[in-house]
Every structure is written in structure tokens, then in C-alpha cells.
Amino acid sequence: MSELAAVLPGVLEKAGWSVPGGLVPVLAMFICASIVAAAMGLSAAVLVWAERKLAGHFQCRLGPVYVGGKFGWLQSIADGIKLLLKEDIIPADADRPLFRLAPYLVVLGVFLAFIAFPVSEKLMVADLNIGIFFILAVLTLEVFGVILAGWASNNKWALLGAMRAAAQMVSYEIPMGLAILPVVVEAQSLSLKSIVAAQSGGMLRWYVFQPPFFMGVSFLIFFLAGLASLKRAPFDLPEAESELTAGFHTEYSGMRFSFFFMAEYAGMILVSGLAAALYLGGWHGILPGQSGAMWFLLKTAFLVFVMIWLRWTLPRLRIDQVVYVGWKVLTPFVLACVLGQALMAYK
């Protein structure tokens, strides 16, 4: 963003617009925010299509084939238009202000997190020096949104879903946060830019492949905990269709529903991107010297693919199993990883 703010006055002058100097940073912020919002919406649209298509093929079906030619390219646009045109229903007994607030909170959390999203060396909105910490912190906002949605709907399914979401997201925040620590210890920084920069020089320098694989294990844990905090299968209890209708967003319709939907898909990209940046070398290529946004996007896309793959492979867990895995498996393992990495750094 700072680079954009630096070049913006020149561009504006060429275009023949005069903008007071004080407004330039504001304008740069605005542009960045619009780009992030557009990217979020677009990637969600692409992902919805990809997920439906892949889900089909995983089950020997074809997925969407009609809308927009052979591969159903326009399926998610059609879905989007449908969602826009749907009636916006607020139940009579719902808590109106909270009910309206909830979807925005959910989107806001993911949206804010994209600020520190490191697509490439140049292509990030802001290189915060506490980038990864910031992302984890704002992602927790999403839990508030979900709980509010469940509570304000005044619906037993929604409330049950929200309570499950709370139990699950709170218990998985811990392994997720701890899984980042080995990387932070190794890179000696919380800034995503310097964490990625520390992994330059080919595939073997990526943190996953560093023996003795403390970071490799924590990559797995981060990915699983990320899945759980995104409420994706096999951890999709908060919206378990077969038990809870649609879980915490049972009462939502139209655009408000699509906000939850968008947040989920944007969250998938976010978690995959973070995992790619933290453990898989971010924008660095497989061979030494290769780098670019392309690599980052490829790795992110691959991890998103794995998420979709997992969703169409595994059945949903029970709530006690989810909590068991969170507290009794992921947390001790990640603690061991943190301890091991810290001891290695100490010597």
C-alpha cells in the first residue's frame, strides 16, 4: 500500500486530476480495500464453481454442465444473481440489530485478515511487522459473527450450531496459534514478509522440509486446525445439514446468507495462503532463484484443492471426537513441536 501511495500522485497528475496531498493515503487505502474486496468476491465465485465441479468428479458425476457452456463456468454467477434476487427474510422473533450485524462481522474478520496476505514481495496490502499475529487476531472476529448469528436467529438449530462453532473454534484457535510458533522461532519474526524471505533458495529451504520436521508436523496441525476453524468438513458440525438444517445460518437468506458463504470460501483461501506462506515458502519457487506471485497462488490453489478433496472424502466427526482431536491430539503434538524448535534455537 505504501508503494501505491508513493506512485499514486504521479498517476493522478497524468490523469489530470488534482487531489490534495492529505487525501492520497486515503485514496490508496480505498483502492486497496476495493481490490481486496473484489478479489475476495471473485475468488469465492471461482471456488464455489471449482468445489461443485470437483465434488461432482470425486463422486463420478459431472457437476454443473449447463450454465455458460460445457463446463458450467457461469454457475456461480448464476448462483450469485439468484442470491441477490432472493427475499431478505428476518424472522419475527429474531433480534434484529444483532441478526443484521452478524454476517458483516463474519465477513469483516476474513476481509481484515487479507490486509497482511502475502501474495508476493510487492503484492501485499501492508507488510505489518506483526502480520501473522494480526491475522490470527482478526480471524477470531469470525467466531463472534457466528455466535451472534446463532443467538440472534432465535432458532434452536441455529443456536446449537453456533454453540458447536464456539466450542470448536475456540479449541482449535490454540493449536492453530501454537503451530505458528515454531516458524516464528525459526524466522525470528512475526512479519509474513520476512518469514517468507527466510525460506528463499529452493524447495529444501521451505520450512516443512526442515529436519527434524517440527515445522512439518506443525504444518499439518495448522492445516487441520485451519480446516476446523473454517468449519469445513470433516469439522463441519456447526452447519451439519443432516442434523441442524443449516446450523448457525439456518435463518439467513439472500445476500446475508451469501456473506457467510463468501466468508467460508475466502477463509479457505486465507488459511491455504497462510499455510503456503508460513511453511511452503510463499512466493519462492521449487528451484532456487524462482519467485513470483504465480508460485504463491499455485501453492494456495493446491492447498485449497486438498481442502475440497478432504471434504469429499471424510465423513463428519462427532462433536466429542472434534474436541478430542483438538485438545488431546493436536495440542500436545504442537506443544512438543514448539518445545523441540525452541530447544533447537536455544543451542
Binding site: L54, G56, H57, F58, Q59, C60, R61, L62, V65, W309, L310, W312, T313, L314, V325, V329, F333
Partner: protein, 152 residues
């Protein structure tokens, strides 16, 4: 000690079984989809498929055997006989009742009624499901008198 061992083997098995499952779904991802593009591409019905009947009017001798054989009485036949000349004036099958059992085709002495491959005969009205197989004919007054309509 066993508890510790079970714990670690459970963790390992959890990961391993997930990987096995993923390898299976990956194999399916690259296998050929079984989807039939039904309204666009009509499926080939198997030989001996029991669909809508095929009726060969010119062979039919109007013997009512098929109508008698039908367990649900859904065939209605009208015949006009004049010496050796046989006119099939009506051959209706009510597909609301028909259960595609093939029992009408077996006894036909002239082998003129068969089960066909067709299956798309849904209709919005009850009348629409009664298919008329005989070509419509205008009958003279005299013929109308001798016309015999039988449903079993």
C-alpha cells in the same frame, strides 16, 4: 504403557485411514463420470427392455387374448369383423394401470404386440396417459353396429 501405545497408534491410524480414503477419492476423481446427459443424450435402453408397447396393427387378428392376459385390465380393443376382413378400430393401453409386466405380449398368437424401448410418455392429464395404438378410422353406421369393444 498400552494406553500410550493405543494413543499413538490411534493418531497414526487416523492419519493413515484419511490418506487411504483420499487415495480412493483421488482415483474416482480421474475415473470416467457415470452421469448420463439424459434429456440431451437419450440413453440406449437395453434389449428386452420393457417400455411402452409396440403394436403391429396389420398383423393383429383382434382375438382379445392380450386383453384377457393383462392382470390389470388396461388394454381396450375394438374390432370390426366383416367376413375375413378385420378392422382394429381401437387399441388403447392405459399406462396409469400398466405395470409393464409383459404378460400381454407372450400369449399373442399373431406376435404383434411387443414391449418397446420407449419410456418418455409422461403426461399432465390422466387422459394423456392412455395411448391409442390403432390408427383412427372413420366407421360407417353399419360398422358401428358390429363393432365389438372388449376389455377382458
Amino acid at each position: 504403557m498400552t494406553a500410550v501405545r493405543t494413543y499413538f497408534s490411534d493418531v497414526f491410524m487416523g492419519l493413515w485411514t484419511a490418506l487411504v480414503g483420499m487415495s480412493i477419492t483421488l482415483r474416482y476423481l480421474f475415473s470416467k463420470p457415470v452421469t448420463e446427459m439424459y434429456p440431451d443424450v437419450k440413453p440406449r435402453t437395453p434389449t428386452r427392455y420393457r417400455g411402452i408397447h409396440v403394436f403391429e396393427e396389420e398383423k393383429c387378428i383382434g382375438c382379445y387374448v392380450c386383453a384377457k392376459a393383462c392382470p390389470v385390465d388396461c388394454i381396450e380393443i375394438g374390432v370390426v369383423r366383416k367376413g375375413k376382413e378385420i378392422k382394429i378400430t381401437k387399441f388403447d393401453i392405459d399406462y396409469q394401470k400398466c405395470m409393464f409386466c409383459d404378460l400381454c405380449c407372450e400369449p399373442c398368437p399373431a406376435h404383434c404386440i411387443h414391449m418397446g424401448p420407449e419410456f418418455e410418455k409422461a403426461s399432465f392429464t390422466r387422459k394423456g396417459t392412455i395411448l391409442q395404438f390403432a390408427t383412427p378410422k372413420t366407421l360407417t353406421e353399419e360398422e358401428k353396429k358390429v363393432e365389438k369393444v372388449a376389455r377382458k
